[in-house]
């Protein structure tokens, strides 16, 4: 399959994530949209890694593997972020019994 398909697919996923973050009001859904953005990046990195491998395999047998290693790091960091983020959301829910981010406007004044 040509690389363009992968690029369009992951850019579409990434834009869905961005639009979700900007328009939704529920903290958990915003959080899921951020995860979609990260996974779109993972997909793109794996596709590029394969592309570089096919192109350069004759010169360098390990060409393109660094992209796939990066994906593992993104997964680990995303997991760490999830654990902290859900803890913050739970902490807020305990205090105000809601996960609506409209609440976030109180600091302005």
């Amino acid at each position: 399959m040509p690389i363009n398909y992968y690029i369009f697919l992951s850019l579409a996923l990434f834009c869905i994530g961005i639009v979700g973050v900007l328009t939704r009001r529920n903290a958990i859904i915003i959080f899921m949209c951020i995860e979609i953005m990260l996974n779109a990046v993972n997909l793109l990195l794996v596709a590029f890694s394969k592309m570089h491998h096919l192109k350069n395999a004759a010169i360098n047998a390990t060409a393109g593997t660094d992209g796939q290693i990066f994906v593992f790091f993104i997964m680990v960091v995303a997991a760490a972020e999830v654990s902290v983020g859900l803890a913050i959301i739970v902490m807020m829910y305990r205090n105000i019994h809601s996960v609506d981010v409209n609440f976030l406007n109180r600091l302005k004044h």
Binding site: M37, V41, I96
Partner: protein, 457 residues
């Protein structure tokens, strides 16, 4: 490499000390001794004593620039702990864990100051950010703290997403994460490179709270517990700036004429919004939050100019700004009332504290004989050295003049108004550390070479 490994180990040590040590003063002493050890080990590495030699395949390079900045960050953190370690007690019950998180942040700072690969940049920025989300929300019962940490978390991970997309697009074109091989760009870069560079620029501007992406900063700095605001508005911000200038020098240096105008616009917007909004604040804490945006505008000048003076100037600026702001925040924590009126008559009741605070404020405003003046001077000199955009320098000078207004409002309240501000208990260690900080600010203002010779020798 010394500091990188030791800071991670110290973080773990602090976590265990929370279990084994019963008294809070013992935990505090362990943290301060650990911090001093970290500083000493890093200075030893600067003079050639490297304890661990690990082959990182060129992904991390500890050059003079990185090591000197790490030393500045560690020294500031050490002084910060002397001043404010006791106040961390009031935040919550997990006393040792807050120190552990601070050490983990320092581990991230050593990574972001020395990366040669975009992978390390990403990891460093995340190792800084994730503990900061926790520290911001550490005052669990306080709604403002909750709100600040949720906002910081959502926007911070959003900008991480943008950064990752930028890295992925650049990888697609170059097939490598190494900054040197990314920089081998001909005159016409591909669309992937340009898009990736813009995404990286936006996400870094977000992390340093530069203008169109600054909106989270005042709320987060205001909502976080004041002790941690002091840490994140100074040391962490300077560290991200070091990463910013490294990234754009090493990875996109050849494309300078493409991004320079954009950087100039961001600088102007940051200076304008930071300074003008700070004028209208009623709370000193919120004023300092906007002032940190305004100072970020000055530091953006170095990223814009990207020459030898810019790198020297950024080191001096990060030292001057961190020392002065840590001092002001330490005094602010001791106050009960955070408004400008809360400082009325401060000089009569606490003459020493008022005098040192005045020195810090003068330094932030950029009055000669203080470090802040020379730092701003280096920045303007670097911006002039590019030979383009003279209006940028003129605008920066005007904005520095505006900043005098809101800094001097505090001095005016302290010296020329009557009042009896309630102040918390002040220890001799606190007073002496403030005096040392003020002395450092003046010393760097007269002999900046005390710091900058380390950069070359």
């Amino acid at each position: 490499m010394n500091a990188l490994l030791l800071s991670a180990v110290l973080g773990v040590v602090m976590m265990f000390s929370g279990i084994w040590l019963k008294s809070k003063s013992a935990i505090r002493n362990v943290a301060i001794v650990g911090m001093a050890l970290l500083l000493v080990v890093n200075i030893l590495e600067m003079s050639g004593m490297i304890f661990f030699r690990i082959d990182t395949k060129g992904m991390i390079v500890f050059d003079r620039f990185a090591l000197l900045f790490d030393s500045i960050a560690f020294l500031s953190t050490l002084l910060y702990l002397f001043l404010s370690a006791q106040d961390i007690e009031k935040v919550g019950i997990n006393y040792a864990d807050y120190f552990a998180l601070i050490f983990f942040i320092l581990c991230g700072i050593t990574l972001t100051s020395s990366f040669k690969s975009l992978l390390i940049l990403f990891l460093g920025v995340e190792i800084i950010s994730i503990p900061l989300y926790i520290l911001t929300g550490s005052d669990k019962r306080n709604l403002k703290s909750n709100e600040a940490s949720l906002k910081y978390f959502l926007l911070g991970s959003f900008s991480t997403g943008l950064m990752l997309m930028g890295i992925a697009l650049i990888y697609g074109d170059k097939g490598s994460f190494d900054t040197n091989s990314i920089n081998l760009i001909t005159e016409t870069p591909s669309a992937l490179i340009v898009a990736g560079m813009l995404l990286l620029l936006f996400s870094m501007a977000f992390k340093v709270s530069a203008a169109p992406f600054h909106f989270w900063a005042p709320d987060v700095y205001d909502g976080a517990p004041t002790v941690f605001t002091s840490f994140m508005a100074t040391i962490v911000k300077a560290a991200v700036f070091i990463a910013f200038i490294r990234l754009f020098e090493e990875a996109f240096g050849n494309l300078q004429n493409k991004w320079q105008l954009l950087m100039a616009i961001i600088t102007v917007a940051t200076l304008f919004i930071g300074n003008i909004t700070a004028v209208f604040q009623q709370s000193v804490k919120r004023m300092l939050a906007y002032s940190s945006i305004a100072q970020a505008g000055f530091m953006m000048l170095s990223v814009y100019a990207m020459n030898a003076e810019a790198k020297e100037g950024l080191l001096l600026y990060s030292a001057a700004y961190s020392f002065a702001t840590i001092g002001i925040f330490a005094v602010l924590i001791k106050m009960k009332d955070y408004t400008f009126d809360g400082f009325n008559g401060f000089a009569k009741h606490q003459p020493l504290l008022a005098a040192t605070t005045t020195i810090f404020l003068l330094s932030l405003a950029g009055i000669p004989l203080t470090a802040g003046f020379l730092a701003k001077f280096y920045m303007l000199k670097a911006a002039l050295g590019t030979g383009k955009y003279l209006w940028l320098v003129i605008f920066a000078v005007i904005m520095a003049a505006v900043s005098v207004y809101y800094y001097f409002r505090v001095i005016q309240a302290m010296y020329f108004k009557e009042g009896d501000p309630p102040v918390l208990q002040i220890t001799p260690v606190f007073k002496w550390t403030l005096v040392i900080l003020a002395a450092l600010v003046i010393l760097l203002g007269i002999f900046p070479n005390l710091l900058l010779t380390w950069y070359y020798f």
